[in-house]
Symmetry: C2
């Protein structure tokens, strides 16, 4: 049973995992009206204290603190917690969400929501069995440009869609190797023992919403290919000497991974994961159809019927007033004070408002499972000569009837 029934009452959140990311999202939640942080959990006591301090500084009572490894279960059971948000290490995302939903609460998780088939199905089936909801807080789906593109798609500016290209292209070597050349958590979770696309959701999230994945369309299968692995060796050798053991280690992940995805209605997607090479950030965010194309790389648009010069890009600027997403128009000024270009604010806000109104989440358990499983599917493809690998249908055919995401969820 869902604990809350009065939308005028504050939404009461428990936070599990308050390291760097969890703390940042906690601060974002504290900016929202009608939100109370009532419980904090982390295995590092100092982090719990820091988080409690932040909550109190905002004028709220001190939230209850927990430091046990499985204390997320205790938080889920608290009567003064309506929903739990987790920013733990990846391996705990599904366990925390499952415990939360089983306790009759809404859950929200950082990406990825799950690791592999078993966890993905566990997440989906727990949501279906409990009637609770679980949101992947994919903040990149709330970036101003991708939300404007979603709005443009719904206005038919690109005509019938045919193709998208997207990618997490961000040099994270500095956050993968420590300042003694040691391997940090990213190295272990992403690069040392795994290949394929280990971080797909920032890139695939917005695109999935553009092309109605799980809501009239469906990812059918993918093929994936990785380049050779040189980036981490080069980085460690350059900065910590060629004799450093991590300069000579064999990393399983290739430097650049690229994946092609086929969908039920024939829109195709190219998906990059390029995080171990010296390069400027570029998430690509390209979308095209029978009437035009937008390029996030260029932040330019070309629309056959309206662009003034045939086959010449136009600056996006002149479209912003008309097509800026309603949530950005309304909350943009506050949002930009938060992390990741303001996307953190709108993402946390959507999470909280859905809880407040007992509504479905805009990024629900089916999306969370579908976007996250790409990690597994791409690895399987890469390890088998880029063979096609089918997506599980987590909706069990409900994607055919599910309606497109509303432009404004709450």
């Amino acid at each position: 049973m869902f604990a809350m029934s009065n939308p005028e009452r504050p939404v009461r959140l428990g936070f599990v995992g308050v390291g760097s990311r969890g703390t940042s999202m906690l601060q974002t939640a504290l900016m929202l009206e009608g939100v109370e942080i009532t419980a904090i959990s982390d295995i590092v006591p100092e982090r719990v204290e820091r988080a409690q301090q932040l909550v109190m500084e905002s004028g709220q009572p001190k939230p209850k603190g927990f430091t046990g490894e499985e204390d997320y279960k205790k938080i889920a059971d608290l009567t003064n917690v309506d929903a739990v948000f987790t920013a733990t290490p990846w391996s705990l995302h599904t366990p925390v969400m499952v415990a939360t939903m089983k306790a009759g609460k809404y859950g929200g998780t950082e990406m990825p929501a799950c690791d592999g088939y078993e966890e993905a199905w566990e997440l989906v089936e727990t949501a279906e069995q409990t009637g609770m909801h679980c949101m992947l807080l994919e903040n990149y789906a709330y970036m101003r440009n991708v939300m404007m593109v979603l709005n443009m798609v719904r206005h038919g500016l690109f005509g019938e869609l045919t193709h998208c290209e997207t990618g997490y292209q961000h040099d994270v070597r500095y956050a993968t190797i420590g300042d003694q050349g040691e391997l940090l958590w990213r190295a272990h979770e992403r690069y040392l023992h795994h290949t394929g696309n280990r971080y797909p959701t920032h890139a695939i999230g917005p695109v999935s919403q553009w092309i109605d994945i799980n809501r009239g369309n469906k990812f059918e299968y993918l093929v994936s290919m990785s380049s050779r692995s040189l980036g981490l060796n080069h980085y460690v050798a350059k900065n910590y000497g060629a004799d450093h053991p991590n300069a000579k280690r064999q990393y399983k992940a290739g430097d650049v991974n690229c994946t092609l995805i086929q969908t039920a209605n024939g829109i195709t997607v190219t998906l990059y994961y390029d995080s171990l090479s010296p390069r400027p950030v570029d998430f690509i965010y390209r979308i095209q159809g029978t009437k035009g194309i937008y390029s996030g790389t260029l932040d330019k648009i070309y629309l056959e019927d309206t662009s003034p010069v045939p086959h010449q890009w136009e600056d996006i600027e002149k479209y912003v007033e008309e097509y800026d997403h309603p949530l950005w128009k309304k909350y943009g000024d506050i949002a930009v004070q938060t992390g990741h270009g303001g996307s953190d604010y709108l993402c946390m806000r959507d999470f909280v408002e859905a809880i407040r109104h007992q509504a479905a989440f805009p990024i629900d358990v089916y999306d969370a499972a579908t976007w996250s499983i790409i990690t597994k599917l791409t690895e399987e493809s890469v390890l088998n000569k880029s063979k096609p690998v089918d997506f599980p249908d987590f909706t069990r055919s409900k994607w055919r009837e599910r309606k497109p995401l509303p432009i404004v969820n709450s």
Copy 2:
């Protein structure tokens, strides 16, 4: 036996096919020193006359004219022809080249050099058996930016290479559908009965040279995926009415095709073919390695050790003086008077100079076969759920010993 032995003597060329492209390349050849056009063939007599006229206007004697369907065989046998260049419809490229080499002459062809496995092997085996050479005149390998990148690669600016992205992204609907909505030759040769990448060489040519394909590296296999097909229907309906038969026809080619290619040394390539959507031209030409990245889309570069701002693109401008390709430095002023940004001139020049010096062609029969076969391999992959399809090794293992292309061939 090769007919010519004196490098001081003019190179004597026969032209087979003098439509729009053949005529343009004829005019380019006439700009070169020490070149004589001694024979012209086309099934349209007026084209032969126009070409003869152009040659005479340049001060040369009237070349012998031919109009028979198989008169390219007669041209190959002429004693005053050293080499034959063909710009016929695609289906004649291989027959003309084979007849030319069998007559003991050098051959040059427009893209693609061949269609399918059988023609590709026929081309290779004829070259090996006759000891003659055949060049694919891939003018895009002579573009200023891609040649500068090749020069930068050889100077090690990008470190060890890991990935390239390239594509023929050029809206050719206007040249595919005639002004009554009828299907032109492009529609028949590329889109009506075929899928996959029907025009790979402009995109893959420069990249193949960057990553030493057939010269120390080798294309191993590819996977390919096509989007749904809407572009031509939309275009005909919009311009000639929804009831036009070509607005309702089913075209086999998807609007956007994307291919991933694995190579022997682990450098991967993403290859686009996007020619039926309203879009600005963009050939991508991205290359990256352990030290940096160049983007042709942006015409910008980032080099970790030298770019002034970490993870920020730099304009390419400041690198041009140092890394502009020697041939562009020397011939750039003349070249830019010719088609395709000057690439036609340098391409025809390399063709002629190799003949003059009886040297190997910079784009030889192995490259011609390898680049052209992509058409066949991608179609096979697309029609079989994007399954991996192996490249034939046209070099029969000689790629391991063949030396990288010299920066200046002649």
